[in-house]
Symmetry: C2
Subunit: 318 residues, 2 copies
């Protein structure tokens, strides 16, 4: 699938960091950075640029804050065409700490929000745009959004300088026909203004990659993926699959295979992500994976049947 | 997705048995049988009915041969509407050992073949049909079949009493648009004769479930799946995901979740299947997973980069 407008964004460190409080060692971060740049991927997101008032550096690693100095240290000596992105959450960012683009190594700031906070997201987009950054808005938990609310939000976003607006299937709950519908809704509002549609999938039902393909087929051009699918709960669309599918000669798969072998497999022995039944159950039920994550952190981690019964019971009682 | 024509076939024991020479212990086989019957799935395939001249019972377990007595022992006392299926391979079945349907607990015989052997498959279909069995033909390695050859084979199959003809993505190489194309080709020949289209996916590129959904959308009605995706190499479309997707009230997910917890997780600690990079690589290259299986059985099992380079080099030299 070749389309020159397609941009691939690796968010290995940002979404993967949700498993371990963004506490990766520098060797790992640097290996991922080098591999992604060597593979020719368009963007790499190193983490969040979170306020240290909101999150303590004692509890969270460097990829939670993405200080300029930290990113410069990671990127030092790496040849790249890959642009650098950071994510911000509504209300958890200190705008004074973000320099103008001309003084920053960061190229793009992505604003994550729920549909109710689109107006706040637009404020941030305008702020970062004025400072010279590229921006996106990533609408989370999209599988729970009513269409009129979505239309209203997209109509507002269409009036902004944002580069792309993302469908974020936080719960890994969407099927292909829902992805088709959402891409169409997004495109209707955004494409006439030259704004691209993005897709960020989770793998709770093993559809992270499949749904990304379906979004591409319907016109999404900003594509999120992570190496070996690392990410919260069941993880994300695997970057290695996406690059192989896209077949664009500018991408090189080998550095990604190599970093999986050398760095990601050993990490997988220490922290958990991927298709595991409790995540499948929250995906099927269109719920945040929080209950499943709590189960996996408990001594009852493999008590799938009891967990399934409790969630079905909750659903029936709702 | 409700469509009364849809039939789900569990082939946990048959495809899963390709990992361990079909050498499951009786407790496991009985637990799977009970769970599948309790879940309301339409068919359960217990294994192959292979000739003992072709395969030694010293090396292979009971699910390789599926003797009548063995199946009756497994099924004893289990209440069920689920029908029983066995698979046969061309040239590896002893027809004299297969009784007429009236003397058998088996309901359906599925004939697996490559496109070049369709005529031989048709001979077997006619034989089993005369004995009173339902039949299907499962065309393996479909991602390597030229369309004129496929058309010829399907046109012949359309003249037989077969119930369904399957698309078998043995290499886990297909993407959705190829699945759409294949379902359309199959349906063009088969549907006018009342023969259904089947789909059997492998998960090398994490598309086992996604491609099954795409086949359903385009009209496939015979759907293969296995519990927790167990199967050769990267495994198959997971039954638990498929049942949740189909939402037909006749299906009950809980027995499947329970048997995963109690029986399949412990087995996964002993034998390997699932999304692993060497299988992804053979899937991407549209190759049999045999080289990846050999790698995983060797001491170099995690040497992904070297494996990738060797296969790419072979591909370039071809």
């Amino acid at each position: 699938m070749y389309r020159p407008e397609i941009k691939v964004l690796d968010c290995t460190l940002r979404d993967g960091g949700l498993i371990n409080n963004h506490d990766f060692d520098d060797k790992f971060v640097r290996a991922v950075f080098r591999a992604v740049c060597a593979s020719g991927v368009d963007y790499i997101e190193l983490g969040y640029r979170a306020s240290k008032d909101a999150f303590s550096p004692d509890k969270f690693g460097s990829c939670k804050f993405c200080d300029e100095d930290y990113i410069r240290k990671i990127a030092e000596g790496v040849e790249r065409t890959t642009k650098i992105s950071v994510m911000v959450d509504i209300g958890r960012v200190d705008l004074d700490q973000i320099p103008p683009k001309k003084d920053s190594i960061v190229d793009m700031v992505r604003v994550a929000c729920y549909i109710k906070d689109v107006d706040k997201a637009i404020d941030l987009v305008n702020h970062f745009h004025e400072k010279g950054y590229e921006t996106t808005v990533n609408i989370m938990a999209i599988s729970t959004v009513l269409t009129p609310d979505l239309d209203e939000g997209l109509a507002e976003l269409a009036q902004t300088p944002v580069k792309a607006v993302y469908i974020v299937d936080s719960f890994g709950a969407l099927f292909s026909e829902q992805v088709h519908f959402l891409v169409k809704q997004y495109a209707k509002h955004l494409k006439p203004k030259g704004i691209e549609v993005g897709i960020h999938c989770h793998n709770h039902q093993q559809l992270g990659f499949g749904n990304t393909i379906e979004a591409i087929r319907k016109g999404a051009n900003y594509l999120d993926a992570t190496i070996y699918g690392i990410g919260r709960a069941a993880g994300n669309c695997p970057l290695e699959l996406l690059l192989a599918f896209l077949k664009n000669p500018k991408f090189d798969l080998e550095p990604i295979i190599e970093v999986i072998e050398k760095e990601v497999l050993p990490l997988r022995d220490k922290i958990e992500w991927g298709y595991i039944i409790p995540y499948m159950i929250t995906g099927v039920l269109n719920q945040h994976p929080r209950a499943a994550m709590a189960l996996r952190a408990s001594e009852n981690k493999d008590k799938f049947t009891e967990f399934y019964r409790s969630l079905i019971h909750d659903a029936e009682a709702a």
